[in-house]
């Protein structure tokens, strides 16, 4: 019985030739539509021509903006630190912490013997390493200005800054006084006015790479920095990330967030 039936996959089987042939025709036509016809209909010189339209439709990476005015260079120095999650991980982290501890002797005058400050300077103990490193580099490049810090970082090499960052990141954090419940600006922000919650970057909910841990930091320091961001006098935040937030905050919101993060400091 079987031997008498025509073979299924065979050019003599009209069903086979019609269905496979038809599918091929549809495929070729669709490829013509997708790779040649529709791309060529785009109002874009880079899609014109057979090879261009095929490559563009297939997603070959290329520069899509041909003629354009040259980039405007910054008027004032901006941060040039490249932040990556592994940026401070070296072959010898313990050695790096040790060297950082020695280097940190020059910092103790203001930032405390173990990174917990008695003056109105930032607490560095337990601060995220990349955040410390970024600020040190910005002080060096002039992206962040400070009459106190600028002379302190002169002459320090890149590895010195990494060592210092690793050292301070390794110290235990100052005990945060039992925090009261977070104010709205910290917990939910003000989405209708473009303000994300503080906790969405500065720890509490999430930590964003490069954003510092804020609890606890001195009240006057936090307030000064927030106001400097709001007025644009501090501008070393990458792509205006913090200025965008700070300039939309009301004085009350600034006070509430500063009060929360400062604790009783």
């Amino acid at each position: 019985m079987n031997s008498e039936r025509p073979r299924l996959i065979s050019l003599r089987n009209p069903w086979f030739t019609a269905s496979v042939g038809g599918t091929l025709v549809v495929l070729l036509f669709s490829m013509f539509v997708g790779f040649i016809w529709l791309p060529s209909a785009q109002n874009d010189a880079l899609f014109k021509g057979l090879l261009d339209s095929i490559c563009s439709a297939a997603g070959v990476p290329r520069a899509w903006l041909s003629e354009t005015s040259p980039p405007v260079t910054p008027q004032q120095p901006v941060s040039s630190v490249v932040l990556t999650p592994e940026m401070l991980i070296g072959p010898d982290t313990r050695g790096s912490i040790g060297r950082g501890a020695t280097l940190a002797l020059r910092c103790t005058m203001c930032h405390g013997a173990r990174g917990v400050s008695a003056a109105n300077t930032p607490n560095l103990a337990g601060q995220y390493g990349p955040s410390i490193y970024k600020e040190l580099r910005d002080f060096q490049s002039g992206a962040r200005t400070s009459a106190v810090m600028a002379p302190m970082v002169v002459g320090l090499g890149d590895q010195d800054l990494r060592d210092l960052s690793n050292y301070y990141a390794s110290l235990p954090r100052a005990n945060s006084t039992s925090a009261p419940s977070a104010p709205d600006i910290v917990a939910t922000g003000a989405p209708m006015r473009n303000i994300a919650p503080c906790g969405s970057c500065h720890g509490g909910m999430v930590n964003k790479l490069g954003a510092p841990w804020l609890s606890p930091q001195p009240r006057s320091y936090l307030k000064d920095q927030l106001e400097a961001f709001a007025q644009g006098t501090r501008h070393n935040d990458i792509s205006a990330q913090m200025r965008n937030i700070a300039r939309n905050m009301t004085p009350d919101e600034i006070d509430a967030s500063v009060g929360y993060y400062a604790g009783n400091k």
Binding site: A18, V33, G34, Q42, N43, S69, S200, C201, A240
Partner: protein, 189 residues
């Protein structure tokens, strides 16, 4: 029924072939319709699968190239068109307030500095993902002055709901006056 089919097997085979043919015609018809819809939307609505692929290193956007902070915003080009460069980042667009002229060809260039964001300009067909490592390019033209909201519409983290920008479309003359004093425009405060 069994009696009928066993009575005349030849007839039932022909009937099956007829049904198969009709079925094939319907399927081919559906495929033709789908291809036709694709062609129609491609030609008349300029719809297109994402194909303007352009890559960029997201970690060095602020160090060099066209997405440095001082180069963001609207730029008037020699041919009269306007190029708008925007960065999406957790949790804001920079610039936060984008100003463009009406009745002028506009090219948007958008990229992300960290995670996947989205960009949608209400009242237009601009709607795209903003992915780190890739530059999204769109060409458009606004018919009349007005304000458009531009929310991030890809969940990008816990501050996502606060991430939006304004697109302010102004008269050509007004824009020309604003552009006389500066090379990159935005309506940020």
């Amino acid at each position: 029924m069994a009696q009928v089919s066993s009575a005349d097997p030849h007839d039932s085979a022909e009937q099956a072939a007829r049904i198969e043919k009709r079925w094939a015609i319907v399927i081919v018809g559906i495929m033709a319709l789908l291809v036709a819809v694709t062609i129609f939307t491609g030609l008349h609505w300029a719809m297109m699968p994402p194909s303007r692929v352009e890559t960029i290193d997201p970690s060095t956007l602020h160090v060099s190239g066209e997405f440095v902070e001082s180069n963001l915003g609207s730029a008037v080009e020699a041919n009269g068109s306007v190029t708008v460069r925007i960065i999406g980042q957790q949790y804001s667009f920079t610039p936060q307030c984008i100003v463009v002229p009406a009745k002028t060809p506009i090219v948007f260039r958008v990229t992300s500095a960290d995670v996947v964001h989205g960009m949608l300009i209400t009242g237009t067909n601009i709607n795209s993902m903003v992915e780190p490592g890739y530059i999204a390019t769109f060409k458009t033209e606004f018919d009349q002055p007005g304000n458009h909201l531009m929310p991030c519409h890809e969940f990008c983290g816990v501050g996502h709901e606060a991430m939006w920008a304004n697109v302010k479309v102004v008269d050509k003359d007004v824009f020309a006056k604003m552009a006389a004093n500066t090379r990159r425009l935005s309506c940020d405060l």
